[in-house]
């Protein structure tokens, strides 16, 4: 194995790293923003509102991300009306298509995670909110969502990692993300070990970084659940 290839081509990997981080973070942020209202409507909306959300979640959770990406990247060109509209300006770009597919995919998974977390709100808390005379919106904002976010955090951290790993599919539609960089190096030098092991190491580093950050956040958000002894004792004033 000759890792000097990697050293001389490191800018390619940096470019890939940049693209992976951009793709993953933008799709996660927009996906979460979409998922929040969807999850609330999925719990409290009328049956008519719930049905399309359920269908959306069912489709995007039940089919492979690769197929979703192909449907958008290759599929949109089948429709003349898309090609003739301004939409084509976006859909002809691989980068936009990957972003679009990732966003919808993570929105569907996140909706399901948040739905479960909202549904698991203890009855007593809701009754207390109602007894205090809160309106439904106020109750959702002050009582249900804060505790739902706490409950959703472990599952959501899995979703972040899933999205990071899923983003490697972008390399299939010509985008140079970390995997794309590795594929370029592999085909240029025919050195699969060096190329893909470097990519694997980069992904692993990001994964552990995410796990570490979520653990920190979890400690903060779940501070009230920690045993008393592990919290710093408050010194009594002299």
């Amino acid at each position: 194995m000759d890792f000097s290839i990697i050293a001389t081509n490191f800018p390619t990997y940096l470019e890939g790293l940049k693209n992976t981080v951009i793709l993953v973070s933008i799709s996660l942020v927009i996906g979460l923003l979409l998922a929040l209202p969807l999850a609330i409507l999925r719990n409290y909306g009328s049956a008519l509102v719930q049905a399309p959300i359920r269908a959306f979640v069912y489709f995007f959770r039940g089919t492979p991300l690769l197929v979703q990406m192909f449907l958008i990247y290759y599929g949109m060109g089948q429709f003349e009306w898309v090609k003739e509209s301004v939409l084509w300006y976006f859909f002809k770009e691989a980068y936009f298509c990957a972003l679009f597919a990732f966003t919808l995919n993570t929105a569907a998974y996140t909706t399901e995670i948040l739905r479960g977390a909202i549904k698991a709100t203890p009855h007593g808390e809701i009754e207390a909110a109602l007894a205090a005379g809160m309106s439904k919106l106020l109750m959702i904002r002050r009582i249900i969502l804060p505790s739902a976010f706490r409950r959703a955090l472990p599952a959501y951290s899995n979703e972040i990692i899933f999205m990071l790993h899923g983003s490697s599919l972008a390399s299939v539609i010509t985008i140079i993300d970390i995997t794309g960089a590795a594929r370029i190096i592999n085909s240029r030098y025919y050195s699969p070990y060096e190329a893909f092991l470097t990519a694997a190491a980069l992904y692993m580093t990001i994964t552990f970084l995410i796990v570490f950050l979520v653990k920190k956040l979890e400690l903060r958000w779940h501070a009230h659940l920690q045993p008393q002894s592990s919290q710093p004792a408050i010194e009594a004033p002299p």
């Binding site: 089919t63 991300l65 690769l66 290759y74 089948q78 025919y190 699969p192 694997a200 692993m204």
Partner: protein, 230 residues
């Protein structure tokens, strides 16, 4: 007409069969890796526990596609470096089917390890001791007491892993295996109807997962017969 398949129906059907073949073979491999991994994690031998721990940690850190490309291209180089040493001097092509199922089996073996480990731990300790007291060997205790009861605890996690596994098989199309995604790609190229064909494939995946969920529910009911519902 959007839903005319222009005679590519049988090709897509063949692809679907291959997808199912890849899924089921990888599942068998994953279960094998999973049982080995779980037994290692629960064994009293330190090095075995360490190996299993490293295995599950690494798999969770690397994307499936990267691992698959590493095994596909890396395996090719490895085999062709090794073959001359064994006195074989022709170029060997690595079979994408083998590369595909071994990667998917290896990846999901790690997830199965966690599922099986939890399920084994959930079996009542007293029953295992009772088995030993009856003079059963450790293998027999595992076969007669642990295995039948761990199935119930393993089924929900197992089902989830299976559903994710089926969707992961779409990746084998990237290394050139003629599964339904690749067949759809070929048909789409010939007919210029990519949306139609990829939609058909998406519906096929939905069918497979929906049927799987139904079967898993039945199995769960069957294996929970003796358990009182709360």
């Amino acid at each position: 007409m959007m839903f005319s398949l222009h005679g590519y129906g049988p090709a897509i059907f063949e692809g679907t069969i291959l997808t199912l073949e890849v899924s089921l073979t990888s599942l068998v491999l994953a279960m094998f890796f999973g049982i080995c991994g779980a037994l290692c994690k629960l064994s009293g031998t330190g090095p075995l526990r360490l190996i299993a721990q490293v295995y599950t940690t690494i798999i969770r850190g690397i994307p499936d596609l990267v691992l698959m490309l590493l095994i596909f291209f890396g395996g090719q180089v490895f085999i062709n470096q090794m073959a001359p040493l064994l006195g074989y001097d022709q170029y060997i092509d690595i079979n994408p089917f083998i590369a595909g199922i071994s990667t998917i089996g290896f990846i999901f073996g790690a997830y199965m390890t966690e599922t099986f480990r939890g399920a084994i731990l959930a079996v009542n300790q007293g029953q295992l001791e009772a088995g030993t007291a009856y003079g059963m060997s450790r293998a027999m205790v595992f076969r007669r007491i642990t295995l039948p009861q761990m199935v119930r605890h393993a089924l929900p996690g197992f089902g989830n892993n299976w559903l994710v596994l089926v969707k992961t098989t779409a990746l084998v199309s990237i290394i050139g295996l003629d599964d339904m995604v690749r067949k759809a790609g070929l048909a789409a190229g010939a007919t210029r109807k990519p949306f139609t064909f990829y939609l058909v494939v998406a519906i096929n995946y939905l069918l497979i997962t929906t049927i799987s969920v139904y079967i898993l529910k039945q199995l769960e009911r069957r294996y929970s017969v003796g358990v009182r519902e709360v």
